[in-house]
Amino acid sequence: MTLQAENISKRYFRKTGAANYFYAVQPVSLTLEPGTVTVLMGRSGSGKTTLLHMLAGLLPPTEGQVRLGDRLLYTLGDAALSRLRNERLGVIPQGRSAVDTLTVLENVLLPGQLYGRAADAGEAQAWLDALGIGALRDARPGELSGGELRRMAIARALSQHPDVILADEPTGDLDDENTALALSALRGAAHDHGQAVFLVTHEADALRYADRAFRMDAGRMAEA
């Protein structure tokens, strides 16, 4: 399923400065095709995460619209949009994204179970193994390092088989070896399972895994 951003922008008001608003993201159109890895690079504060949140249905754009298949995300009510995000999108946010009261395995299984889908603990375990944290399945998030938590979030997104994976700095806390593991897994999701993968990253290495690459600077996106 294709995720399409049609001329979306995000504008914030500010109290000081010459203009009374500024663009975090300038109007941009982007299509995330199934089976492709799209990488977006750029400096901190350039608007990458804002764009990702708009694509994920988490932040309504000031202008434009986001379409997943034939459904416009921001015309949906909260319940429908939440369910669509749960079933179709796999979001890997920056930083810690674990529910502290659940174990690592329970965290990975959580999205599917929220809406009563059958949990495939075997597959979840396989992803944890593939990302090198299989032995931590029963650990609580508080016992994990930043890098291990990032890998847990990647395993969580991959094990749900979403149509689109939106990953924000997925390798931020990882060493080279684990970065390669994580990026390979995400590329496998696109190339082997036909998912659309969108990577926001600082890592120049990620370009090696990209089918398409963009750069963002001061809210303006351009082909890299």
């Binding site: 995460t49 994920a56 988490l58 932040l59 909260d78 369910r83 995000r85 946010p93 529910v99 329970e106």
Partner: protein, 400 residues
């Protein structure tokens, strides 16, 4: 994983957070349930006292120091005996406005070899009595025979047992319902039995005779005033007509008790209200802290596809589980504190105290639980609303 099991895990795996909420609710429930049981028991006791007195006026000998000794007999079960001539009964019946007059005779047994237990014995005249017999009838359908006694619920004697009073063998034929008053420590017999007991007491040197030529003495006369007559006026007439006796309106006895009860009720209600207000504020603060602590967790859940409604449900469910558990603990602790020590409470308050029926207690417990859940839900509603409206994008960025 359903929202219910997620809520359950949130509570069991963050026990500190859950414990704070549970303890607060337990404290609230303890105050409400315990306080309400005490107040209800006092009200029940007062109602029982009114029912047992059952008369508009009681005439007692002036030697009974007016109502004080008499009131103590009712409220504390202290034994006592005071007598007036039986002719006082006829004098009372002569007074205009008196519809019924029922005599009672009191005798205190001794803590000695001649008596099984130290108790207050009250003799009634079945033909005239209109206060004690309806009470006895609830436990014993026949009339009290000679040397038969009906015992109050706090008297240590079983039905069928023989108790000795001044070496007279009396058979316990009934055990009476609790009244929450001093009457629970008394035994009741007919006037013939009482005459035999008085004679036996006389032999032991306990004199009840007012004059040497009078065989019959009575201790109190219960008066029912005819409809349409002013009770105060009849009371005055009785005071003027019967020598060496004092007529006391029962209401004046009950008013003292009622005033004390009203004072205690007010104090308990104020205490409960203060505890609830304080605990509600603490609960609100606790939820404000929880909002801060859990913003990122909720942003993550939103990111994973949890709707606002589901998140709201989760917070309310957690609050309901804590409230239910806290309610049960609070009610349990209150029950352990109030029920086994009801005699102590009765003695220290010096008021009639009668535990409400089991059904009422269960209803009160259910009401307290419902109140605990409602208060928990109200306190958490703001948190549920705010957390469900967390903008996940902003929350995740702010926390990074």
């Amino acid at each position: 994983m359903s929202i219910f099991s997620l809520s359950r895990k949130n509570l069991t795996r963050k026990p500190g957070r859950a414990a704070v909420l549970t303890l607060l609710i337990a404290f609230l429930s303890l105050a409400v349930f315990g306080g309400s049981v005490v107040v209800l028991s006092l009200r029940q006791g007062l109602a029982s006292l009114e029912a047992r007195l059952g008369a508009d006026i009681i005439v007692v000998p002036s030697s009974a120091q007016s109502k004080v000794s008499f009131q103590n007999m009712f409220l504390q079960g202290t034994t006592g005996a005071f007598y007036m001539d039986v002719s006082s009964l006829d004098r009372a019946l002569e007074v205009e406005g008196v519809e019924k007059a029922a005599p009672q005779t009191f005798l205190a047994s001794l803590k000695a070899d001649c008596c099984s237990i130290k108790i207050q014995v009250i003799g009634i005249d079945p033909a005239a009595d209109f206060t004690v017999q309806p009470w006895i009838a609830r436990s014993y359908s026949r009339e009290l025979g000679d040397m038969d006694v009906a015992v109050g619920c706090k008297v240590e004697a079983e039905v069928g047992e023989i108790i000795r009073i001044y070496d007279q063998r009396c058979k316990v034929v009934a055990r009476l319902e609790a009244t929450g008053t001093g009457l629970d420590t008394a035994v009741y017999c007919n006037m013939d039995t009482m005459r035999a007991l008085l004679a036996a007491a006389e032999e032991k040197g306990i004199s009840h005779k007012i004059t040497s030529d009078s065989e019959d003495s009575i201790s109190a006369i219960y008066i029912k005033v005819q409809d349409g007559y002013d009770i105060d006026a009849v009371n005055s007439r009785l005071n003027g007509h019967i020598r060496k006796a004092t007529a006391v309106r029962t209401r004046s006895m009950i008013t003292g008790v009622s005033d004390s009860l009203a004072g205690i009720s007010r104090t308990v209600t104020l205490l409960i209200a203060a505890v609830w207000a304080l605990a509600f504020i603490i609960l609100l603060l606790a939820f404000v802290l929880i909002i801060r602590e859990r913003t990122r967790e909720f942003a993550v859940l939103r990111l994973l596809g949890t709707s606002r409604r589901m998140l709201g449900r989760m917070v309310l469910l957690e609050s309901a589980l804590c409230s239910l558990l806290g309610g049960v603990i609070g009610i349990g602790v209150a029950a352990l504190a109030v029920f086994p020590f009801s005699t102590l409470i009765e003695t220290s308050l010096n008021l009639p105290y009668l535990r409400p029926a089991l059904g009422v207690i269960l209803l009160l417990a259910a009401g307290t639980l419902a109140l605990a859940v409602i208060i928990g839900a109200l306190a958490s509603a703001g948190a549920a609303w705010r957390l469900s409206r967390v903008d996940p994008g902003t929350a995740l960025r702010e926390e990074n």
